[in-house]
Symmetry: C2
Subunit: 384 residues, 2 copies
Amino acid sequence: MIKKFLMTPGPTQVPPQVLSAMARPIIHHRTAEYSQLFARVNDNLKYVFQTKNEVLSFASSGTGAMESAVVNLCSPGDAVLVAAGGKFGERWRDLAAAYGLACEYIEYEYGQAVDPGDIGRSLDAKPEIKAVFVTHSETSTGVVNDMQAIGAAVADSGAVLACDSISGMGSAEIKTDAWHVDVVVAGSQKALMIPPGMAFVSVSEKAWVLAEQSKSPKFYFDWLKARKGLSQPQPTTAFTPAVSLVVGLDAALGLIREEGLENLFGRHIILGRACRAAIKALGLELFSPDDDRSSSVTAVQVPEGIEDSRLRTLTRDKFGVQLAGGQGPVKGKIFRIGHCGYYNYTDILVAISALELALSELGQPIQLGVGIAAAEKVFAAGVA
Amino acid sequence: MIKKFLMTPGPTQVPPQVLSAMARPIIHHRTAEYSQLFARVNDNLKYVFQTKNEVLSFASSGTGAMESAVVNLCSPGDAVLVAAGGKFGERWRDLAAAYGLACEYIEYEYGQAVDPGDIGRSLDAKPEIKAVFVTHSETSTGVVNDMQAIGAAVADSGAVLACDSISGMGSAEIKTDAWHVDVVVAGSQKALMIPPGMAFVSVSEKAWVLAEQSKSPKFYFDWLKARKGLSQPQPTTAFTPAVSLVVGLDAALGLIREEGLENLFGRHIILGRACRAAIKALGLELFSPDDDRSSSVTAVQVPEGIEDSRLRTLTRDKFGVQLAGGQGPVKGKIFRIGHCGYYNYTDILVAISALELALSELGQPIQLGVGIAAAEKVFAAGVA
């Protein structure tokens, strides 16, 4: 009997309350019943985003909402800045290229954080830069960038700041308004605790000005169409929404409101801390930074002599724990433990235990239980 | 106690087998388990599409897949032809405008079918036309266009034929390959019997040639990216798929294969026939054509002296049956009964009965039961 534990940074585990909400008979999206639900969802999204801005939603993966930011903020030929140190940061660059933007690209090694000073210097050197695109939580490396400092670096320039917080929103705190982040993209299948298929984007007043001027071609991801839907007496989307996912999101956001933001982010900080403590106690090397900001994903270097795919196949097929591999240049070199969303101390203990058992079976000289003991010490000190 | 019957042409009722499949714990999309499921889904989509072409899937509403056809087939300035007689046909025109195409537009009144001869004449007059965009099942009017004749009109030209079969696929037959339809768009929330949030597009060899040449900017809806995902040893999507919907689709397509295409389309023909017989027996006027091709949606003129919104509120709130209103220029003038997907004779009886009871309550001089009797006669003659 295998019990399965999905410990990947998206999709993430879906709470049973959400699964059962989504299993109810479907409702129509042009009704008062749906509009009330959608209005409540939008209010609760603003709560999690910590913003007074409108949060638009799309039936798409997170990449769709990233594309929406590029095509609504920019026109062909516009100067933009992308600062990236991982696979999802690179996606901003690829999107900018696809839409004919003049992209200045600050590249960091996988695993390095964005230096807010670099962004400030680029903006000083090129005042024509219209938009800055960065990643909040870089899912591919576990790095969470310092959005407060990046926000401060951009706020006084003429540029807008757009940030991918797909794996950050709801697990690594982002204070959208207080930190001057004009555009924040989120996805459904991470800490928002529902299956993939929805994506979100909050838009500041400064960003709406650009959206009204943008000449990039667009239709499905047109923010003005989305805003028009939200401003109806019965708020709605421009195109048919992913109704069952919205119903699930309503349930998931209810759980988040019940927990409260302080507890929510506190829990994730402890989960990351426990994970890191366990990894270090086992004598493994962390790849993601050893700081409390890394509360969504813990990335670990694959120990010498161990084959990554064998390790993860073993944790999954024998011990029921699905971990994520590396991507891009760190494929095969790191593995990742996702803990953004519906995770608590029990999941970390199971994941670390599976890792201990698998490493041991593969002949790695570790002492069984020392990772677990280190994690437990963290949990004993601060409840998650 | 109200029992609810969703009789709208999308979302449509979701079978309990599908709801329960979607309520299972979520799985990760970069695994052998998912790839096997996705490969089976793709095979079964080809079966329903009646094609050997690849069927690409997107996490989006149907409009997203329509946009994908426009941006992958065309480059800015390309001459295209749109022939439309309803709200969703107009969407092709709006998409062509958004992407800077030179669009010739053949407009029909709402409720009229596309004349294949008009398309042939336009292609003869303008051989530079690269793509023809039409609607198979026009959800807003109930008209199902003759795709076989339209396909024949386009097949020998240099143009590709793209068709929106969002509310047609799986209810009004379309023989993609035999009828020379290069690109067919479908949506999840109609006769494919799952909630909204996924869309599909089949692409012929002739269409792939254009896709490889297209210069329209694109990223999320890029067909080449999607094809690359399908050609992996473990077939996948370019971006995170809507996993729970794909799992539901697997269950829904299983039901379709069990029923078989002949029974599937036969059932829908009978449902449309019964609906129309009932409407006529009640002395109401059909808006959609009185032909067997109209097997997805039956559109009915609102009787004089009856207010559409009062009628539909009554059928919904008192009798549990949700009907759809009119759109665009026929808003308030027609109502629509959707019967594409998980519907059989019981649903038609309930819908017609709710209509009889509501019309009677609103003082319309109808004889209770005559609609039901007419529908029953159809069902007695041919089982649905």
